[in-house]
Each structure stands twice: as structure tokens, then as C-alpha cells.
Symmetry: C2
Subunit: 188 residues, 2 copies
């Protein structure tokens, strides 16, 4: 069977999930696929482009929240699901934080957040600010979590005390409350 | 003159600022300092510990906002100054996002945010959530900016359209508005 772009992406995702971002090389990827490195470059122009594609797919895997929920609950759901998606793979938050070629603005996830906020009556500028606040907070928080877990695994830092789910929920609620307050026509 | 811990940190900071995080090695650092690599390990136990120290110093360099300003303005100021500090060095946001050994909670900057929010009458749990929302948003936003700028420099992505200062200010205002809404005793 000829090598497909899908094979390349799936195997790269598995390597990152199993061994972390630092161990993904085009040579390693070719070895895993049983092909010469040149065969991979036929499907993706560079390692950077490959990482960007993986990052975009990861963001796109976050489900759309049910539109029957209250809109602020939809945002809480989306933030929680994004963190869960990032935490399901080793180094996924770093991949998404560093690897995207497209901006959050043009991602499907970014568009979903904007649509939810705009359905509440907010204008486009308010919806963009909501999207940026929500997604950068969630990605920033989860990147910090995963970096720290990696330090702990390598014995370079003690584990943190406290319940990180509760810490996340509390801070996410702050951000969503700010989105609600900013979306009101009376917001200063 | 004998090598001091200060020499090691200052030279490491300069190397990161000039060449980026990826090019900092203990060997390179030793070469710059004109010493053998072993001499460096006498002052810092590992490269990871060195990066953590640099990250903590960078966070600590953000000035405390004037307590005579309104407290929400102090938070806006602190967020803006943190972004400026991160943007003053190549890869500084990545360094802070990935390299801290201590948590944001125990950083001086984290304590400053908590103190500002608690002076408004908020409780400790609300102040912690405010700190996490604000700092993870700013670091996440700035890391995304710097990662993207690095892709643009390497020709791997087109430059983004739009005014990133305005984008940042708008989203920071959302987060701070959420902190204000959450700090009120009536917050749900």
C-alpha cells in the first residue's frame, strides 16, 4: 500500500503521544513507517508543517458544546474539553502552544467560541476578545501543568499540592465571567 | 576573579536573549564564560535548574503596580508589564511557560496579584483563581505571539494581520473584568 498523508500524521501523533515532542524526528518517523525519509517530505514539506498540522487536528478534535445549554455553560464546557484533549497526549499543550501555523482565530475551535459569544448578542470585537482570553488561558494553564508534570517525572521538581481540576475550574470560571460581563451592551 | 553564580545566570540570560532557548547548552555557556563545564555545575545542578532560575528572575523583574491606582487598573498594568517583560527577550515566554520550577503560586508576581485582589475584599480562593486566570492568560498569549514570530522569521508562516497590542488589551480587559465580577461578594 502506498504511504498516505494520513499514515504520516497518525504515526507522528502516536510517536509524540508515546515519547514526547522532543523525540520526534523525520528520520524516526520514516523508520516507524518503514520508508525512506524522502517519502515523508512528499506528504509534508517540513517537520514544522507536520507539527502545525498535528496541533490543528488536536484543536479540531474538541467537540462543539450542545447549543441547548446556556451560552456561558457552553464556554465552560468547551474550555474543560479543550484541557481534556490537551491532557490526553504527552506534550500536547506544548504542541498546540508552539506548533500552530494557523492562528487560533482561523481554527474551527476559535470560530466555535466566537459563534457562541455572538449568539449572546455580543459584537465581533467582543467575541474575538472572548475567544483570545478563553483559549490562551486554557492552553497556557494546561501547558504549565504538563511542563510541570514532565519536571516531576524527571525528578527535577516536587509534585504540586492541591487539586488541579478545582484550580482549573475556578480560574476558568473567572475568565468566562469576564466574557459574560464584557458581552453585555453595558460593559465599559 | 572566581566564577560566581551571578556570572553563570547573567551569561545564560544573554545567550538565550541573543540566540534563543534551543541554542543554550551547558557546554556553550562554559565556553562563553571561559571555564570548563564542570565549573558551571558547581553553581547550578542542571540545565533545567538554570532555566527555572532564569524564568523565576524574569517573572520577578515585573514591577509592582502603584497601589494608588484603582485595583482593576493595577491588574491591567501588571498584565501589560508582564507581556512587555516576556517580549523583551527571545523565547522568554517559552522559558517562563516551560521552565519554572516553582509554581506561579509561589512566585513574587503571583503573590502580588493575590495581594491586589485581596485588598479589594476578595477571599483567598477567589484571589488564587484571579492569579491563575491572569498569569496563565498573559503567558499563554505571549508564548503564542513569540512562537508565531519565530515561525515567521524562519519563513514557515505568513505574518498575522491586525494590531496585536489591541488584541492583547481587549482580551486582558475580559480577564480582568472576570476577576472584578468574581471578587464581588455577590458573585455566583
Amino acid at each position: 500500500m502506498p504511504l498516505t498523508r494520513r499514515d504520516v500524521l497518525d504515526t507522528a501523533r502516536r510517536l509524540v503521544a508515546d515519547y514526547g515532542l522532543g523525540d520526534l524526528t523525520m528520520r524516526r518517523l520514516a523508520f516507524e513507517l518503514g520508508v525512506k525519509p524522502g517519502a515523508i517530505y512528499w506528504h509534508v514539506p517540513s517537520k514544522q508543517a507536520l507539527l502545525a498540522e498535528l496541533a490543528d487536528e488536536l484543536l479540531d478534535s474538541v467537540p462543539e458544546p450542545s447549543p441547548r445549554k446556556r451560552w456561558d455553560r457552553q464556554l465552560l464546557q468547551l474550555g474543560t474539553d479543550l484541557r481534556a484533549a490537551l491532557r490526553s497526549h504527552t506534550d500536547a499543550a506544548e504542541l498546540v502552544a508552539a506548533g500552530r501555523a494557523t492562528s487560533l482565530a482561523s481554527s474551527q475551535l476559535g470560530k466555535s467560541v466566537m459563534a457562541i459569544v455572538q449568539r449572546s448578542g455580543a459584537g465581533e470585537r467582543q467575541a474575538s476578545a472572548a475567544r483570545d482570553a478563553l483559549l490562551h488561558f486554557v492552553i497556557g494553564f494546561t501547558f504549565d501543568e504538563q511542563s510541570h508534570e514532565s519536571l516531576v517525572r524527571h525528578g527535577a521538581s516536587p509534585a504540586r499540592l492541591g487539586d488541579s481540576d478545582r484550580t482549573f475550574d475556578d480560574a476558568l470560571a473567572v475568565v468566562v465571567r469576564g466574557i459574560v460581563a464584557s458581552a453585555r451592551p453595558s460593559a465599559s
